[in-house]
Symmetry: C2
Subunit: 248 residues, 2 copies
Amino acid sequence: MIKEIREHRSIRRYRPDAVPQEVMEEILRAATRASTVGNMQLYSIVVTTARGLLDELASLHLNQPAAATAPAILTFCADIHRFSRWCELRGAEPGYDNFCWFMNGATDALLASQNAALEAEAHGLGICYLGTTLYNAGEIAGVLGLPHGVLPVMALSMGYPETVPPLTDRLPLEAVVHYDTYEDYTPERLDALWHERETSEETQCLLAENGLPNLARIFTERRYAKGDNVAFSRKYFDELVRQGFFNQ
Amino acid sequence: MIKEIREHRSIRRYRPDAVPQEVMEEILRAATRASTVGNMQLYSIVVTTARGLLDELASLHLNQPAAATAPAILTFCADIHRFSRWCELRGAEPGYDNFCWFMNGATDALLASQNAALEAEAHGLGICYLGTTLYNAGEIAGVLGLPHGVLPVMALSMGYPETVPPLTDRLPLEAVVHYDTYEDYTPERLDALWHERETSEETQCLLAENGLPNLARIFTERRYAKGDNVAFSRKYFDELVRQGFFNQ
C-alpha cells in the first residue's frame, strides 16, 4: 500500500515551526493534480499562516488544539466565482450557480485536499481534517474575504507533529464494502461489525467517563447530538444559498 | 511528489481484464485509511463487476467509454443508514438525517475515493471519476439496491488502461491558491491565467470543430449548459431529500 496512505493518522498537536514555502508549494501542486470536473478546477485553496488570521480561524474551529497549535491552515472552497467571471469576460453565459455545481466544486476541493494531505505527510508533516469548517463556514468566509460564489467545504490544519499517535482502528472492511449490490445489515451483522470496537478497553474507559451504557449513545448524546446537527445543517445550507449555489 | 499523484491521468478506455480480487481488496483497504468524520465511516463502496450490472451502470453514465469499457465500477455513497441502524439497535437516537451529515458522508466517501484512485494506480490500474453519478443518482441507487439513507456521490471506473494519454494541463498554481485571504480576480489576471490554455493548439482545434469564438463558450454552450445544470441540480437535490438527508 502507498506508504502515506497506510500510515495516515490525524495529528492534533503541532510544533510551532513553519512549513517551508517550497514544501508548501509542492503540496499545493500535488493538490492540483487531482481529477477535477471537466478540468474546470472549481475550487480555491486559501493558505493561512499569518498569526492573527490563524487565531481567528482557530476560534471558528472551536479552538480545538488541531487548529489552535497549527502553523498553517488550508481552507478548501468550492469556487464557481473564478470560472464564472472568466465566462462573463468572454461573453459566455455561466450557469454554475446551482446545486450540481456546488457538488462539483466541493468534489474538486475534497479530492485536492486528499492529495495535499498525503503529499504533506510525504514531507514529514502532519495534518488534521477540520470538520468544524461546516459549522462556521460563513464566518470563515468573512475572515478569508471570500466573494459570492465561494464557500468553504473543508479545512486542513498542517504542521510538524508534536506527537504521533497510533493508527486509528476501522470497522472491518466488509462493513463498508458491498459487492455488486448493497447487502443490508441485520442486527446480528451490526453486532459483529462493531464487536471489536465496542468491547475495546478504550471504549470501556469512555463509557465510564461519560456514565453511559454504550458507545452509540456517546455519539448521539455527547459528540453529535441531533439538535446541534439540525442547527448546523440549517446554518450551512443557508450559507450555501447565500453564496449563490442554489439558484434553481 | 508522490509518484501516483504526479502521474495521475484519467483513463477513458480499458482492457477487458478483471481486477484481481487481492488487488481490489488492497485498494478498498487503502480507501478506508482516509480520514473520516468522527471515525464514523459514513460511506459505503459498492463494487460492481457483474457484466449485466456494469451494462446498466454504463448506460446511466451515458455510455461514455470510461464507464462502458471498465471491468469494475466503484460507486461511493454517503451512508447514514448503517450508522443509524446501529444507533437504534443500541437504544440511541440517531440525528444524522440532515444536510450537515450528507456533507460529512459525502466528504468521507470522496476522501476514500481519492485513496482508492491512487492505490489503484500504484497497482498499474487506471481510473476515471464519473461525474455523471450526479445526473442519475436515483437510478444508480435503484440498480445497486441502495436503501433509504444511502446516496451515490461519485463513482470510479477502474481497469487496466488500453492507452495512457498524456498528463492534462492545469491552470497556473496561483489561479487556485490564495495566501491568507482571497485575492479577487481582475480581467487582466483572468486573461493571464487562461492565456496558455486559450492559445493552445488543442483549443484552436476545438474552436474550429465547434464553430465558436472562444473556449468559455464551449463550456457554457456545448459541455455544461445552464438548462442542463439546473435540471440535474433539481433532480439530484430531490433525490438527496428523498433518501433522507434533509430533515431539518
